[in-house]
Amino acid sequence: MELDPLMLSRMQFAFVVCFHAIFPVFTIGLASTIAGFEALHFKTGNPVWLTLSKFWIQVFAVVFGIGVVSGIVMSFQFGTNWSNFSYATANFLGPVLSYEVLTAFFLEASFLGVLLFGRDKVPQGVHLFAAIMVATGTFISSFWILAANSLMQTPDGLELINGMYVVRSWTDALFTASFGYRFMHMGLASFLTAALVVAGVSAWFILQKRELEANRKALSVALWFLLILAPAQTLVGDYHGLNTLKYQPTKVAAMEGNWETSKGVPLLLFAIPDQENQTNHFEIAIPKLASLILTHDWDGELPGLKEVAVEEQPPVFAVFWAFRIMVGLGLLMIVFGVWGLVLRLGGRYYQTPLFLNGLRLMSISPFIAVLAGWVVTEMGRAPWLIYGQMTHAQGLTPSLTGGMALFTLIGYIVVYSLVFSAGIYYLLKVFRGGLEKANAPHEMDEIERPMRPFSAAHAAIDEEV
């Protein structure tokens, strides 16, 4: 079989970006959570918030560390595998990605150190300020990344001159038509991720009867956030969908599995899209609902996939099902939010084992939902790298061979499996150590050693000899 550098490069990018994405989506929400705990402690003086903050700061430190390392690979992949794309878009992408790097380094150089290591060295107010700045900084970081992605989805403000885009308007290029929706959607996703992880981990601690008071408080806060954010996310997602319908109708057609442009389009609950025959099998549908959701009219017309040539259609099966996974998990989050409220009214939200065990499982759901969402938006854009302007094939590095791409694909899988499984293994150790370990006085010999994010965590990675 001929090795296809295009397919392998796409697989490599998907692998690396999926691996990377789960870390920042968590740290962005968690940074705000920690700032919230710190603020509550500052305001109420209740030591319970301090206990919680100390634990979650350790988790944050480890996740942030892994995210930074995997992000470095991302910044080189644009050049190695997508050099034509990088070159063409460098006038925009170069400064935007550099600003993201500058933001991250500025944070690390200034406020992160104070947040992680400065608690006993600066006044409490300064420490709180650092926590708020780190939270703000993570959002600024995501601003740059999402601006870059939005430009690829709904390009604007650029002009193509001699094979290179020149920025005509920085405001148009940074704030493209889809940017606001994407930023809101990802921001809420980050908060939901933090809420569900905090809820799941707290539920697990409560089931083990550990640090009950603090973990109940954390669970309570997380459930309030879940109750409000999960429906809000559905609303924002809906608006995002309408925006996509306007600018990238083919993507929406793939999400809905809708082949023919027609009126009164049904919402498919289940189907096996068959791209070869341009049809679906085994449809289970609710009549007219897709039209109602997307046009707010029972008989609204929706564009079908056949509007474009087969080569210009995205891979329908993956987009269709990824969309259903994302929405399904979103609905499940709403269910848990409401369930939590019902139990709370009876005063039983922290003593219902079924609910608590459910939350434990739900703590991985936001990660799956986020990845599914990115599959929808990225694969849904295919075959376009910059929508309507440059295809994946045109953006690929011309000198890249299948053998080279396969070599690095396997290489990254091996490196990531080895190194990051160690990272995740360590993260689980920090979880097992719990609030008790995070708040215990640790051995002083470590204190002046490397002031790295990981150093904020004190667990050993393996057993004592």
Binding site: G79, T408, I461
Partner: protein, 333 residues
């Protein structure tokens, strides 16, 4: 847009400065990894790692900043170098990841400590070799069609780039050993004194090969150095002088001078390389102006750089100040 300044020159200066900072600063901590397997004992290895642990990641900041800055200011460099060095870039990144993670985990490990030691040593050595090969590949030049790299996957890997790769491994090890002279005492320092002259010898041998070879593969380099004996000859003279100072200061058992003089060797050979190739940034065809991005993009990012670089420099100096003096067993006190 009205172009009040030639931003391309400013950016060339910024990137050049960032690269030099990176080589000098990450050089000595990569050097610890290269010397790791040869260290006298396990206690020495702990001390070596401790001596750079608080600062190494700040040092690597410059690499990431330089990489991102290249895409923004000189996109042609980014889109030719990375495809041309495809496999090398992977090795570099994998090496840096392995050694970076070793910093995090070696201190937290008990039974698995030796695994992290190897991860540190191999990662550092591979990353250093890959960087040296990049320098060699730059000297060789790149095959391009239009603005696109058109050579093969392993064109960068030639006997010459293997030599430059090994040369940088030796050079970083030298920075590492002179750093140890500065930062440690007793047995470990003695060992560092002992190996420094040998590492210097290896580095100078590579310099000699590169200096003889480069004018042959690039006629413009030959013209520049040999047609008129110009002021640039002061650079190799300064390299030789610095090498002499390293040897003399090691004999006198001075502690700071070997490191300073080694940095001098790097600085002046770096300037010598620039003097040879200027203004070509993607040899043999493209100058810094050919490779530059649009004026407004360079300007847009310059504002951010001018704001953040002083902060990073300040933070870096502060960290070095906090961790000044000798590193003792178990870290800085």
């Amino acid at each position: 847009m009205e172009q009040a300044f030639d931003l391309t020159i400013i950016w060339a200066g910024l990137i050049g400065f960032g690269l030099m900072m990176y080589v000098l600063m990450d050089g000595f901590d990569l050097g610890q990894g290269i010397l790791f397997p040869f260290a006298p004992n396990e206690k020495a290895r702990d001390t070596m790692m401790n001596s750079v642990a608080p600062i190494w990641d700040g040092n690597e900041t410059w690499l990431v900043l330089g990489g991102a800055g290249l895409l923004a200011a000189f996109p042609l460099v980014y889109s030719v170098f990375l495809p041309a060095l495809y496999i090398g870039v992977f090795l570099l990144l994998a090496g840096l990841i392995f050694r970076g993670i070793a910093f995090e985990f070696r201190f937290k490990a008990n039974k698995s400590k030796h695994l992290w030691s190897w991860s540190f040593a191999v990662g550092s050595t591979v990353a250093s070799f890959a960087q040296g090969a990049v320098v060699g590949a730059y000297i060789q030049g790149f095959e391009t069609e239009g603005f696109v790299y058109s050579g093969g996957a392993l064109d960068w890997l030639t006997p010459f780039t293997v030599i430059t790769g090994l040369g940088l491994v030796a050079g970083y090890a030298l920075l590492g050993s002179t750093w140890l002279i500065l930062k440690t005492e007793g047995e470990l320092q003695e060992w560092a004194y002992k190996i420094t002259p040998r590492l210097l010898g290896a580095l100078l041998a590579v310099f000699l090969i590169v200096s003889i070879y480069t004018p042959f593969i690039d006629p413009s380099v030959k013209t520049r150095w040999f047609d008129n004996i110009s002021i640039i000859w002061i650079l190799p003279a300064l390299v030789a002088y610095c090498a002499f100072v390293v040897i003399r200061s090691v004999q006198k058992k001075q502690e700071g001078m070997p490191f300073v003089a080694t940095m001098g060797i790097f600085l002046f050979s770096y300037l010598g390389l620039i003097a040879s190739k200027w203004p070509y940034i993607v040899p043999p065809k493209f100058t810094i102006w050919d490779a530059a991005s649009a004026y407004n993009s360079q300007l847009f990012l310059l504002l951010g750089f001018l704001f953040v670089i002083p902060i990073i420099l300040g933070y870096t100096s502060w960290t070095y100040w906090v961790f000044r003096g000798k590193v003792k067993e178990g870290g800085y006190h």
